[in-house]
């Protein structure tokens, strides 16, 4: 068995937290530049120009793209042939978050005791961790810090199995309309369809991780992505909600087998500063 030390995990998580927060994903930056070619609204164009400039400043000065540096979700793909040595894996990840948020001058946004004290934990821990065990002897770590502006407007609905894709589309559109300017459009929209109530939310988050511009390999789903993309951009919400042709940069749909009586749909709204970074140990 290959051994990976918790120390390596901590270092990787720390580096990924800082990197994801200060360096805008290349595919998103490209999409913003592409949006500038499409956007006709003067107010919308100005917002897009700001966002490109903001990304430049953040990267050059090593400061966060957005002051909401999010709560950190960590997706682990742990190879079956790996043994973690040197301590507790969860603690190693939280230590990486702690060090990254302190040394990167990132905002700590996590509060404990959600119903009562809501006291800030002071170090942005704990992280939300999902572990998938996969073949091989590597460990892939994906860090996804997500802000509340976009997360608060995300939505999940258990549709009827006979509702079909028209209802799926309607629910995505309804969610985007309700969010309006709150989730910082232009949005990156991740949709999960299938699975169960709990799994569809995670599926929608994974949809946000697909590189922008890459369609679902299933041509029928790719067509649905294209249609929803067109309709969302017809809403007129525009960059920052100031009006325009570009309300979304991308729509990604991931599907999963589901119960014959179910059609779960999760719409995970990502803002234009959607952040993620990954490393393989």
């Amino acid at each position: 068995m290959r051994e990976i030390s918790t120390r390596e995990v901590t270092q990787a998580v720390k580096r990924l937290c800082i990197g994801a927060n200060s360096s805008l994903r290349g595919d998103i930056l490209n999409a913003l530049q592409e949006a500038l070619r499409v956007e006709e609204s003067p107010a919308g164009r100005k917002v897009l120009e700001w966002l490109v400039e903001n990304a430049r400043i953040a990267k050059e000065e090593g400061v966060p793209i957005c002051q909401d540096c999010g709560m950190v979700t960590v997706l682990l793909q742990l190879g079956q042939g790996v043994r973690i040595v040197g301590g507790d894996l969860r603690e190693a990840i939280d230590q990486g978050v702690r060090e990254g948020y302190r040394e990167g001058y990132l905002r700590k946004s996590v509060v404990e005791d959600p119903c009562f004290s809501r006291r800030n934990t002071g170090d942005n821990t704990p992280a939300i961790i999902y572990t998938e065990v996969v073949p091989g002897d590597g460990l892939k770590i994906i860090v996804v810090p997500k802000g509340a502006g976009s997360d608060n407007s995300s939505a999940l609905k258990m549709l009827n199995p006979t509702d079909g894709i028209l209802e799926v589309k309607a629910f995505v559109l309804e969610t985007v309309k309700k969010a309006g300017a709150d989730s910082c459009p232009p949005l990156v929209i991740g949709v999960g369809v299938g699975g169960s109530f709990d799994s569809v939310g995670l599926l929608s988050k994974k949809a946000l991780l697909r590189p922008l511009g890459m369609a679902n390999p299933d041509a029928r789903i790719a067509q649905l992505e294209k249609e929803i993309f067109g309709e969302v951009n017809g809403l007129g919400i525009g960059p920052a909600g100031f009006g325009g042709r570009v309300t979304t940069l991308s729509v990604s749909i991931e599907t999963s087998p589901t119960h014959m009586a179910s059609l779960p749909v999760a719409v995970n709204l990502g803002c234009h500063a959607l952040r993620s970074a990954e490393a393989v140990l």
Partner: protein, 186 residues
């Protein structure tokens, strides 16, 4: 581009129309969810609040920590609608301006009209850029709330757009009217 200096007076507010670009200078106070709750609880009990609300502007923001040598860290707006339930009372106590992002409730719009106030929007997710317009920063109250404390910011030509003016005109509604097109299936 209209240059606006805080505190705000009625003659300036009268000139601001939804869609106008504004450059705001002077002192603004940050306050978000928990600070709003505390401000409103204090006002309801008839107690003093940490800063005089008369003519003032609240910025819905929780800045990132400053790097050494910097005034402030990234400092963009948070979603304004979460503050909607608290806003009418603050406006009744003299608050004249708010800076944030996103739509406001009908109650807030009514209160903005009634008390002749203004709601500015700025661009969410542009906190690194917006921090450049902040020249001074100090904690005023509720330090225990961490990033949610009330900070006094000295801003210079802070860029914003008039989102709701004192007549109740709303750029977010206007945006949909102007740029929206009916969906194919409707």
């Amino acid at each position: 581009m209209l240059r606006v200096t805080t505190p705000l007076h009625d003659d300036v507010i009268d000139k601001l129309r939804a869609g106008d670009e504004a450059a705001i200078s002077g002192v603004v106070y940050t306050a978000r969810d928990q600070a709003h709750r505390r401000l409103v609880e204090a006002l309801t009990r008839g107690e003093e609040v940490p800063f005089n609300l008369e003519g003032q502007v609240i910025y819905y923001a929780g800045p990132a920590p400053a790097k050494p040598g910097c005034v402030i860290g990234s400092a963009g707006p948070t979603t304004s609608s979460r503050m909607d339930v608290f806003t009418p009372l603050l406006l009744a106590h003299g608050l004249k301006g708010m800076i944030g992002k996103g739509r406001r409730s009908e109650e807030v719009k009514k209160a903005i009209k009634k008390h002749k106030a203004v709601y500015f929007a700025t661009v969410g997710g542009a906190g690194a850029l917006l921090s450049k317009f902040v020249k001074g920063f100090k904690v005023i109250a509720y330090e225990d709330l961490g990033p949610e404390a009330v900070f006094e910011l000295e801003v210079e030509d802070f860029p914003a757009v008039v989102a709701i003016d004192a007549l109740g005109n709303d750029i977010y509604e206007e945006a949909i009217r102007k740029w929206g097109r009916p969906a194919k299936n409707e």
